[in-house]
């Protein structure tokens, strides 16, 4: 970290305790300037706690948080140049939409007229100009969401914190808002820290993702890394859908681990640290990286029987029983090519892994 270009946020060995309960166990991470950064994890993983610590609503039990190189612990929320979009928006019910957006500007010392003018521009940005004089309760959920966003962006914070802001919206609106948020972040150049439990949302929007569970950072990386190279069982299981198979490692050969399934079928996949011959580990493979064929396509083809085909619109999910093995899931795209690889239930098939699709994981 150089002084000329410090990180937007640097969390250094931060711990949060509530009495005997440790909500956050020694987290360290850096969030870059202009980044769309996501804290992803199931409820209770500590992601919101971390966000509230950055906003100043919770103090840090141990460690420190830096904002552009300056330590902010001890500063009350109203003295931190960060703004929050709250989960349930927290719009001031007795103020008009315009005055809600103008509030932060006025508190920063702008005149009433100036604040309202700038607030009007913010409303234009989120396409709500015609609702400026309404009360928040007269707006739909999606509109309230955009008011909350405009209100938090209006004072031009150094960092914008978003606490599951899309969770109350319906699917279609959520998808539209995801893109809108992403564009807004690029246009304004403000660092966004986004909290969500929705892995799809995180993958769609983020430059980088921090996956958290039970108060710990599990993995930090961009969407592709997190999805394709999960570092542990939790990340593999939490992000997207995956097949987890128990395998035993036979030997390591030039960076490849040769292992076999319980049923005896041999497989080869990239070796990882900590994996040695004789170890029982897990193998993770995404359903869309598996291909069904009538004959063994490659030497990795595993004998199986089709149990069920489930039509899910864009894809067809097929459940197959491996010979002497567990049930696994195969996803095939609903396309002319894909449909050639769909077989009736009961058909004997071979399950083939795409090259490099399998990944070993240690407990």
């Amino acid at each position: 970290m150089s002084l000329e270009n410090p990180n937007a946020i640097e969390v250094r060995e931060a711990v949060k305790r509530y009495g005997n309960f440790t909500a956050l166990k020694t987290i360290s991470l850096s969030i870059k300037d202009n980044e769309f950064f996501t804290l992803l994890g199931p409820s209770g993983c500590g992601k919101t706690t971390l966000l509230r610590m950055i906003a100043g609503f919770e103090d840090v039990s141990e460690g420190a948080i830096f904002l552009y190189g300056e330590e902010i612990e001890g500063l009350p929320p109203h003295k931190r140049p960060v703004n929050t979009v709250f989960q349930n928006y927290a719009l001031f019910p007795h103020k008009t939409v315009l005055d809600n957006v103008a509030f932060g500007l006025q508190m920063r010392g702008n005149s009433k007229a100036d604040s309202r003018k700038k607030a009007g521009e913010m409303l234009e940005l989120v396409q709500l100009s015609q609702f400026a004089n309404r009360k928040p309760s007269q707006l739909s959920g999606g509109q309230q969401q955009r008011v909350a966003l405009a209100r938090a962006l209006a004072p031009q914070p150094k960092v914008l914190l978003l606490d599951e802001p899309l969770s109350a919206l319906d699917l279609k609106l959520r998808k539209a808002m995801q893109l809108e948020l992403k564009h807004l972040q690029r246009e304004t150049g403000i660092t966004f820290i986004f909290v969500t439990h929705d892995q799809e949302e995180a993958l769609t929007m983020s430059d980088r993702i921090a996956v958290m569970s039970s108060g710990e950072l599990q993995q930090l990386g961009d969407a592709r890394e997190i999805y394709e190279s999960p570092r542990n069982m939790f990340v593999a299981d939490f992000i997207g859908e995956t097949n987890l198979l128990d395998v035993s490692v036979d030997r390591i050969e030039s960076g490849q681990a040769v292992c076999h399934l319980d049923g005896g079928h041999a497989l080869t996949c990239p070796a990882i640290e900590d994996v040695t011959a004789g170890l029982n580990v897990h193998l993770s493979v995404r359903p869309e990286r598996l291909i069904l064929t009538t004959g063994p396509d490659t030497d990795t083809g595993m004998k199986a029987t089709v149990r069920e085909n489930i039509f899910v619109g864009t894809d067809i999910t097929t459940l197959v029983d491996l010979a002497d093995g567990p049930q696994i899931t195969v996803r095939t795209s609903n396309s002319a090519r894909g449909n050639e690889r769909i077989f009736e239930p009961g058909s004997p098939v071979f399950v083939n892994m795409e090259h490099g699709a399998a990944r070993l994981l240690v407990d």
Binding site: A55, G56, F57, P76, P77, H78, K79, V82, N83, T84, F86, N88, A90, L91, F92, P93, H94, F103, G104, M107, R108, K135, R151, A152, P155
Partner: protein, 309 residues
């Protein structure tokens, strides 16, 4: 109402209407016997002629109102002049009650806010503690207050013992003593409605204000207060109205000089010296005044709501 208007002749609606009328009956009976009847009785009595040993003669007279507002000399035959004695008592009552209300608000709001921000399980205990003194009769509490405030009472002993003052601070039989008495009598009426309002308040709004650079004072004034305003207003009305008509605190703590309307009315019905029509007239004037104040308030409220909306 809306449903009935569109389908008036409908059998189902008629049954519904009938059922509703029966269900409303207890409310109407209660209101008629406990509100309407006493007020009408008082209105009628205020226009009757007084009997010297209390009671009334059933003969129409404006004498009571005349006595309240005009002075016609000792024998009643001088030209009428405005009588300021009773108007002054009214005026004093209004500002005494107003001062007591402000005092209750100043102490009651932080108290209510404190209770509402405790962990949920503790709140019941705090509310319970607030109500404990009110298990003791108001008369006994007011008399005790008299002892507390006396020149040689414990408060003055404490002040002198700590060297804060040389001689006793004279508190009994002053306006201050009356206000303290009223404040103490009606404080829970201020605390409880404000507590209920603050408890319902969404504290995320305070966080949002702090997040948008508002300090605690601005947050309280511009975000919390507007949200809990109905509770504050209910509290102020609940303290102001009974304070205005109170007679215990002014009698026992204010002495003869600090007479209030409540005491004036009380005297008219006590023993043989009273004047029932005059007491009834004073009550009617008090009632009218309270109504006027409430109507003015309601109008102002409706206007500010309209402007804000």
């Amino acid at each position: 109402m809306a449903g009935g208007a569109t389908s008036g002749g409908n059998a189902v609606t008629d049954t519904y209407k009938e059922a509703r009328n029966w269900l409303l009956l207890p409310a109407w009976v209660t209101l008629s016997f406990l509100v309407l009847a006493p007020v009408l009785l008082m209105l009628v009595y205020s226009f009757l002629t007084k009997e010297f040993r209390g009671g009334v003669i059933w003969e129409f007279s404006l004498a009571a109102y005349d006595q309240f507002f005009f002075d016609r000399g000792l024998f009643g035959d001088d030209p009428a002049q405005i009588e300021w004695t009773y108007i002054a008592i009214f005026w004093r009552s209004i500002w005494q009650a107003g001062a007591a209300t402000l005092l209750s608000l100043a102490i009651g709001f932080p108290t209510a806010y404190f209770i509402a921000t405790r962990p949920e399980k503790q709140r019941v205990i705090w509310v319970f503690l607030i109500t404990i003194p009110y298990w003791v009769n108001l008369l006994i509490r007011t008399v005790s207050m008299r002892f507390l405030l006396r020149d040689e009472g414990p408060l003055n002993s404490f002040f002198m013992a700590t060297g804060l003052v040389d001689g006793p601070v004279h508190m009994i039989n002053t306006n201050f003593a009356v206000q303290v008495g009223l404040f103490y009598s009606y404080l829970p009426f201020m605390v409880l409605p404000i507590y209920a309002a603050v408890e319902r308040y969404n504290f995320t709004l305070s966080e949002a204000a702090a997040d948008l650079y508002a300090n605690k004072w601005i947050t309280l004034r511009h975000i919390v207060l507007p949200a809990v305003k109905p509770g504050v207003i209910a509290g102020c009305i609940l303290v102001f109205v009974p304070s205005l008509g109170s007679f215990l605190a002014p009698d026992l703590l204010g002495g003869a000089k600090n007479f209030m309307i409540g005491s004036l009315i009380e005297e008219q019905f006590k023993g043989n010296a009273g004047n029932w029509p005059f007491g009834a007239a004073a009550s009617m004037i008090l009632l009218t005044m309270v109504l006027i104040i409430l109507v003015i308030y309601a109008r102002a409220q409706a206007r500010s709501d309209k402007e804000a909306g």
